[in-house]
Structure formats: C-alpha cells, structure tokens
Symmetry: C2
C-alpha cells in the first residue's frame, strides 16, 4: 500500500507536473479504480492538489513534510552561503550533491545568469561514474557500493564519458589522493565539471560533493581553490552547528 | 491508510529528525504493531531511512519526489537569483512565502551571516496576520479565505502583533493600494518585516510574497525598493519561462 503511494508520486516529474487520475493510473500501472481512490486519498491528505479541471499536482504539503525534518536540509542550509560565495567569484553553476541509492542526487544548484550549459536539476540525479560530483562521491563511497556500481554496465552520457571500470578505478584513487576531480566533457562535451568532497566536520566521513560546471576550455585552478575554501567553510559550520 | 502514512511523516520536524518506531507510534497515536509495520513499509519504499541503531529518519527519496514535479520548485528556482541580489544589497534575511492552507509557507530563506534575529525556517510556517509576507498574501487571498482567517481568534506572536480584525482589514486595504507592507515588531519585537507581492507574470494573480526582515529601527525604503525590483524581475522571468 505504501508502495502504491510511492508509485503514484513517482509519476510526477519536471515535465509532468499536472496529470489526471487516469494518466497516473496508466503510468503507475494501477487499475483505474485503484488510481482514482488513491488520488482521492492523497488529495484529502494534502499530498496532492486538485485544479479546476480535476487534474492533480504535487501538494506543497509533501515538500513541507519532506524538508522540515530532514538532515539534508541542515546540510543544504549550512552550505548555501558558501555556495553563494563560490558562485559570486566563479560565476558558473555551483552545485551540491549527495550519494543516494548509488546515484548523485543534487540538493542545490546556483546558476549565474551568464553561465554555460548544465543539465543538472535540483532534486535531479546523475550517474556516479559520469558527473564530477558523482566521481567524488564514488571515490569515498563504501567499498561494496563502489564495487557494485563498477560491476554494472556503465552508460555513456557523452562520447567522452569514461565507461571503462579499470580506468574509473584509477581515477578514484587519484581523487582520494588529490582531493578533487576534473571531468572534461563527461556529461556534456561543452563543459568541464570540477568537484571536491565535503566532510561531516574536519576529518569526518565524506557526506557530499561540491562542484562547479565550467565551459570546456576554462582554467580550472581558481574554481578548485574556491571549492576547497567553501568545503572547509561548510565543514567548520557543520562542526559548529552540531546539536 | 494514506492518512496514516501522512501521520507518520508528520511526527518528524526540525527538532526531531531521528526517531524509533515506538516514538513514532506514540506521536502519531498509532498502535505499536501498526507503527512498526508502517515504518518498515516506508523504509522499504525509501521514504524513511534506518540508521545503525534501528532508528529512522526522513529519506531523501521523499524530498526528491516532492520537489521534482513541483510547481513551487519552478517559482523558487526562478526567484533565487533575484533573492540573492536583494540579499547582497540589503544584507539581511530575504525570504519567499506562498499561501498554503491559510498560513504563510516559506519556500526559501537566504540569510546574511551578520543578519539579525529571524525565526523563519525553510518549509516553516507563520500565521498570515502576523508576518509581513503573510499580510501580503492575506491582502491578495480569495475573499472567502480572508474572511475565514479574520473570523478566527488571532494569536499574538509578540506583544505588538495586531490581532484586531478591523485593524488588519484596514492594513490589507493599504497593502493592496500601496503594493507593500511594513510590519514592525509583529513577529519579534527586535525586527521589522517588509514585504511585496509577486505576481504570476505582469498583472497576473499574486502567487507569492517576497520579504526582508530588518533590525527594528533600520530604514525600510531601500529594502522596499529592492524587493519591488526583485519582484518585477521574478514576474518577467516567470512570464519568459512559461512552457
């Protein structure tokens, strides 16, 4: 039953924010009567909202419930001023990602109006082996997660995505040694992602990755330096705010 | 059943991010066996996560589901660069609220490290009659919402909160005429809230309120001017991004 609620909620995404109960039923592979009843229940509970044409969309109540008791909110709230400083100096996309179900889930993205191409969305995901943030998360993931991810067929998002497990494995060793990654063209050929780890307090476990998406040929040194400063700032703020 | 899922999720908040199934059961007023089973289902679905000590917290999957298909995300994402500009110039708390179940629900808050007191939280709520953002939302709410809110006993959050319905009604007329509100001391006596409406495109319905929380005796003119500019910027961006 809980599973059905999730299946209904999963039918919504950025390109499908408003749906009829019938559309939801088809997409969630639920019998029409079940879908109608579930949608009515979810509207009643405030997790969905009905519009004038009897279509439904996700309710703000769901977002509120998800956010107000969430540890991710604390991380994001602590990280935001530091991300703003990176963005003000580098003037490109600055983003924060965490490891979630073996993918990189993006908690926040700040974008400069003149910044280049970037497919990342807040609450969107990217494969760990392809995105710069994902590679940092993979480098510091528990070994069994790393092995599971690298044992699967690795999808190329661009002609330059590295999909060879042995090559990725060497890159991960380098990331752990150097404390950053530079991933040119692995998501989009016009961009280079750079990322650093964020630890839960100084010397703690890696809990997130902070990344900047630069135009392909831009120098990366300044961005890496800013990301390091921001990451240390977040770590200090997390340590200071611990209850 | 959906109702029970919501009751479980509602037991989490900023001060209670990790709980045992027994605690959840007590707070949600569910029999212990029901709570155990629901928690197990929700963990299975990824909406809750279990830690090493068998306690649970809200899963990022819930946040992700709530955000990725949400219209509020579009508003927030469009508003963010404009809010950053306000915050960079005014250097106080800048926040964005929408009307939700007859309260002001805060979608975003940017805070300057040196800014003054502010009780608002992202995904937190404040009463419409007390907060500056709430008063703007109430001024532009459908008449039946306005009458319902004003017919109820109005709670004082500080000794200066206006709780007299007739006085609030005059303030709402003024807000509609002048296009902004100045609310000194109505939430905390050390602060003054100022807010303006945000419309869904130029001349469209009011969909949000943009506010700044200033120290009590600070001049308000500059903040109102910046909020107006930002609000127009958001309205133009919303109009331009309409699918």
């Amino acid at each position: 039953m809980t599973d059905r609620v999730v299946r209904v909620l999963e039918t919504f995404d950025a390109d499908r924010t408003v749906q009829t109960a019938a559309q939801i039923g088809r997409r969630a592979r639920l019998p029409s009567s079940t879908a109608q009843r579930l949608v009515a229940d979810l509207v009643e509970a405030g997790l969905l909202e009905r519009d004038d044409e009897n279509r439904v969309r996700l309710g703000l109540r769901l977002w509120e419930l998800a956010l107000r008791g969430s540890l991710a909110l604390r991380l994001r709230q602590v990280a935001l001023p530091h991300m703003e400083r990176v963005q003000a100096r580098i003037r490109e996309h600055t983003q924060l990602a965490v490891l979630e179900q073996e993918e990189a889930l993006f908690l926040e993205r700040l974008s400069h109006p003149q910044a280049g191409a970037n497919i990342t969305r807040v609450a969107g995901r990217l494969p760990l082996h392809a995105s710069s943030a994902g590679l940092v998360l993979l480098a510091h993931a528990p070994e069994e997660v790393r092995e599971r991810v690298l044992a699967r067929p690795l999808r190329a998002l661009s002609p330059e995505t590295v999909t060879d497990a042995a090559q990725i494995r060497s890159a991960l060793v380098r990331i752990r040694r150097e404390g950053h990654v530079i991933a040119p063209g692995s998501i989009e050929q016009v961009s280079t992602g750079v990322a650093v780890p964020v630890r839960d307090g100084h010397g703690g476990p890696v809990i997130a990755a902070l990344a900047v998406v630069l135009p392909r040929e831009a120098p990366t040194g300044g961005a890496i330096e800013e990301l390091r400063l921001a990451s240390h700032g977040i770590e200090a703020a997390l340590a200071a705010s611990r209850p």
